[in-house]
């Protein structure tokens, strides 16, 4: 008759597991990295001469942050929370005003048959803004304020993209899955529809009252 093996004493198992648990609690962190991703402009070619790029005045919205963290948008002092709406208006020009950016007729290719609001070949035709936002800051501007302004500008473009995506594709722009080629094409198309045209000038002293 086979003798049953004596049972292993499991009393210390809990202690061992606790030890491991505490080790992991101490050596790991929980925070996930979140942030706003931006693309820096490539460094200008040193041999290239400084050419004043002629941009139509109405196509540029100058956003200034001075050394006392005061915000000036298109020549008027503005609260940070009003900036988003201002940016949305700038990029859409709903009333076709003369002092807001030129809207250019554009064709954008979306995947055929992806939306009932598009013709069967998926070609979207409409007006795309030529607007550029020029963000300028002083060396003494605090970084926190600067990022808040960046955030508002990004928020404005994201809202526009999201609205477009919801209208045409019944989906949140954020939830487009880039691993899926069709949805990736949709994303590329929407990026062309509303461009993230935020330019940062070369750093300089803007000044402002002390």
């Amino acid at each position: 008759m086979a003798r049953s093996t004596p049972e292993v004493n499991g009393g210390s198992l809990a202690d061992i597991a606790f030890l491991l648990l505490i080790f992991f609690l101490v050596t790991t962190t929980m925070d996930t990295d979140t942030g706003i991703t931006r693309l820096l402009p490539p460094e200008p070619d040193p041999e290239q001469e400084d050419v004043e790029v002629k941009v139509n005045q109405r196509n540029v919205l100058v956003v200034l942050l001075n050394r006392s963290d005061l915000l000036m948008v298109g020549g008027e002092v503005m609260d940070r929370l009003a900036l988003k709406d201002k940016t949305v208006e700038f990029f859409t020009n709903p009333l076709n005003k003369q002092d807001l950016p030129v809207m250019e007729d554009t064709e954008i290719q979306f995947p055929p048959g992806s939306s009932s609001l598009l013709p069967p070949n998926g070609m979207w035709t409409g007006k795309v803004s030529k607007g550029v936002i020029s963000l300028q800051n002083d060396r003494s501007t605090t970084y926190g304020k600067y990022l808040q302004v960046q955030n508002e500008l990004v928020a404005a473009v994201n809202t526009l993209r999201n609205d477009f995506c919801r209208l045409y594709f019944d989906k949140e722009y954020e939830e487009l899955n880039t691993a899926n080629p069709i949805e990736e094409e949709i994303q590329t198309g929407i990026r062309k529809r509303y461009k993230m045209n935020i330019s940062e000038s070369e750093p300089k002293n803007i000044g402002g009252r002390n």
Binding site: G10, G11, L13, A14, I16, A17, F18, L20, L21, F24, L25, T27, T28, T29, M30, T32, D33, T34, G35, I36, T37, R38, L39, L40, P41, P42, E43, L81, K84, D85, N137, D138, R139, S140, T141, T142, Y143, G144, Y146, L147, Q148, Q150, N151, V154, A155, N158, P203
Partner: protein, 166 residues
């Protein structure tokens, strides 16, 4: 009346602890999955600003960190309290703009990536919200020069109530 009476039968019955290891193991696995290893010791104080439009950084292996902030107490005793730059785990102690260090840092980090990912390198800027932009601009210029163009301004998720947002 039973013949055998347990000794000290009046004491509390012992709690059955045989499921305790299971519970602790469950906790352990939760923490192993939900957390990441602490890799660097941050020697500057960084309180990143809040923003609403933040996104998660996807591929950790592509990310290098640049911290800018005032040194923590025991570092401040050596380097003073002026804002310092830390690259991953190395504190840059030199005065002024560390163009050289940043350049080397970018090259070194890029070398570590596989060939296909070399142009996807992300620089995560973890900058204290009270630092002045002068320092940040210098770092950005240095990154441009080193051709590390994808940057991520690290920020915490801010939840805004709907009323203020519109």
């Amino acid at each position: 009346m039973s013949k055998f009476r347990k000794k000290g039968g009046k004491g509390l019955q012992a709690i059955n602890t045989s499921s305790l290891p299971d519970i602790v193991f469950m906790l352990l696995f939760f923490f192993m999955v939900a957390t990441t290893m602490r890799e660097t010791e941050v020697q500057v104080k960084v309180k990143v600003p809040e923003a609403t439009e933040v996104k998660k950084l996807e591929k950790k292996s592509l990310v290098s960190y640049i911290y800018i902030g005032r040194p923590i107490a025991h570092v401040a005793r050596m380097y003073g309290t002026e804002p310092l730059i830390q690259l991953n785990d190395k504190l840059v102690s030199e005065e002024g703009i560390p163009y050289e260090s940043l350049q080397d840092f970018v090259l070194f980090e890029r070398e570590k990536l596989p060939e296909a990912d070399k142009n996807k390198m992300v620089m995560s800027l973890r900058i204290d919200e009270n630092i002045s932009m002068g320092k940040v601009d210098d770092v950005k210029q240095a990154l441009r020069r080193a051709k590390a163009l994808i940057i991520n301004y690290s920020a915490r998720k801010e939840y805004r109530d709907q009323g203020r947002q519109r």
